[in-house]
Amino acid sequence: MTMGIVSDPAAPAAVAEDTRRAERTDRIVGIVQRQGALAVLAVVVLFAVAAFPDFRSFDNSATILVAAAPPMLIALGMTFVILTGGIDLSVGSLYVLGGVLAAWASQYGLLAAFAVPLLVCGAIGVVNGLLIAYTRMAPFIVTLAALLGARGLMRAISAEGSKTYLVGDDTFRRIGNGSFLDIGYPVWLVAILLVLGMVLLSRTRFGHAVYAVGGSEDAAGLMGIAVRRTKVWVYVMSGLLAGLAGAINAAKLGSGVTVLGTGMELDAIAAVVIGGTLLTGGAGTIAGTIAGVLLLGVIQNLINQVGNLNSNWQQVISGGFLALVVVAQTYLVKLRRIS
């Protein structure tokens, strides 16, 4: 754009003005793209506070946060995977599997209740990661197979889904239901893991490798980044977090419910994408993912508040939000590239 003006006498000033404007647009577009979900969340929360007296109460906020804990963990793992340009469809199944395993293992004590689901789900994550990194099969199809395999495994250990293990360990159940400073333990745990995730992503070599692999795998390889190892690790993390989310949910419910979790992976992907992380990899933040998960959680809560509204509207509205956000993002990225 600026090329044509160069011969003009007033060129330097015009060019400078042009660049300034371009930079400004670039900055604004960048902020909207990164913090769009947060802005929408703020608007929705303000509207809810104004319209629904019940929404304001502390209890309700605590309910929203506790309900958002498992999806938040899954979305955290998914953010890492998507940042490398991959996708993990197996997390919904792993979430259920983790819950059933935790409830079953709780009879052997607190440690087993966490260790067994983490080990099994982490192992499935390792298999995902190795297949994706070393055989170059598409992440979509590998994790689709893992979705089926993990669901099969869950059914195999729960007598085809008909047996619901009850949590035998009281300490384990207290972790799901107890609270510290009136905020539930799961929320504290999730908050700690989110902070750890942020530090890992923005302050460590591994985090930079994740961005680099997602930005350009070839370039990352040429820079001497261990592309394959990075890929394996993100799938392991995703599996571990999904298993942990299942364990926490089992602790909360006091049993390993076998019928939950269908479509959980797609909710997580939706939250990550709404949070401004690009599915092509290389760009996105955990802060955005937090806003995305909370946005979906608040919408669900609002729909429950509106008594006469059919709960199925929630899916319609979530789908609509997803389409809106993704379309807006695509245009913002285009705008940024042009200016």
């Binding site: 996708i87 297949l131 055989t135 170059r136 099969m137 598409a138 979509f140 199809i141 590998v142 689709l144 197979a145 893992a146 979705l147 089926l148 395999g149 669901r151 099969g152 495994l153 869950m154 059914r155 195999a156 085809e160 269908t262 479509g263 797609l266 909710d267 992907i269 939706a270 994408v273 599915l279 092509t280 059919n310 199925n312 509207w313 929630q314 899916q315 319609v316 509205i317 979530s318 789908g319 609509g320 997803l322 389409a323 993704v326 379309v327 695509t330 245009y331 285009k334």
Partner: protein
Amino acid sequence: MTETAVARPAVDLSRLRDWLPKYGVYLAIVLLVLYNIFFTPYFLTWSNVRIQLIQVAPIVIVALGMALVIGTEGIDLSVGSVMALAAALIPLYLGYGVIAAIVASVVAGVAVGFINGVLVARVGLQPIVATLALFVGGRGLAVVISQGQLKDVRNPDLIYLGSGDLFGVPVLVWIAAALVLVVAFLVRRTVFGRRLLAIGGNRPATELAGLPVKRVLITVYVVCAVLASIAGLLAVARIQSSDASAVGLLIELSAITAVVVGGTPLTGGKVRVLGTVAGALLMQLVIATMIKHNLQPSTTEMVQAVIILIAVYVARERKTR
């Protein structure tokens, strides 16, 4: 199945590698059928074959559309939701006759496909996200439309579509077979098919060659959604009731599996119509065999996972060579 072929003393390994992804699925079917003939009682009875064909028909129809979309390097997650939408609309319009119900469900398919296509082709979204929006929203809308109720369908014409016979073969199977022929013709003998494959092979080059890429892409997604809506219609006709929250649940996974096992690469540029049918048949046979031998559904799911991985792995080798 496919592993047995690898274990065989190979005369020429590279030729076998070329041959396996193309015809491995047929070989697996033949082996599985032979096994069943010898070890499964009542396998070769007409009533058993009939049940298997009726069960596989909706998956075949959905998988045909999925194969076209995958041929353009895309994916369509919304097919199950389209089936649900079609199912929800049928009871509303059945009062005006069976034609009105069919038109209503197909129109729903066209609408969904058009939205998907516009999001992918014009807005430039990744197919998985574009169709994810309608996957989430579409089924919700369907349940809202049907008010979450299961509705019985008593229209004799519609029931004939689902459980009637023509020349001794279920109408359902005739329809699926006809659609297979139509799609095969579309891919092999029409300009549309050539353009579709060109887009999947190399989209920038196709654009530079001046082909109407966006129009073709939108059409592909519309065709896929219409096929899914037909599958939804037939599912309602077969079970003689419309339950929007259950129809077509997780069928996107079965359809993608059938396409992938049938040897269509996820990277686009190639559509194997008969392979897709064979892929659907193979998965159906696997499930049927395991049920007949009293194996649990959990085992079936794990075996399915392994079959998918083997199929994709075998296809991948050919690509890197």
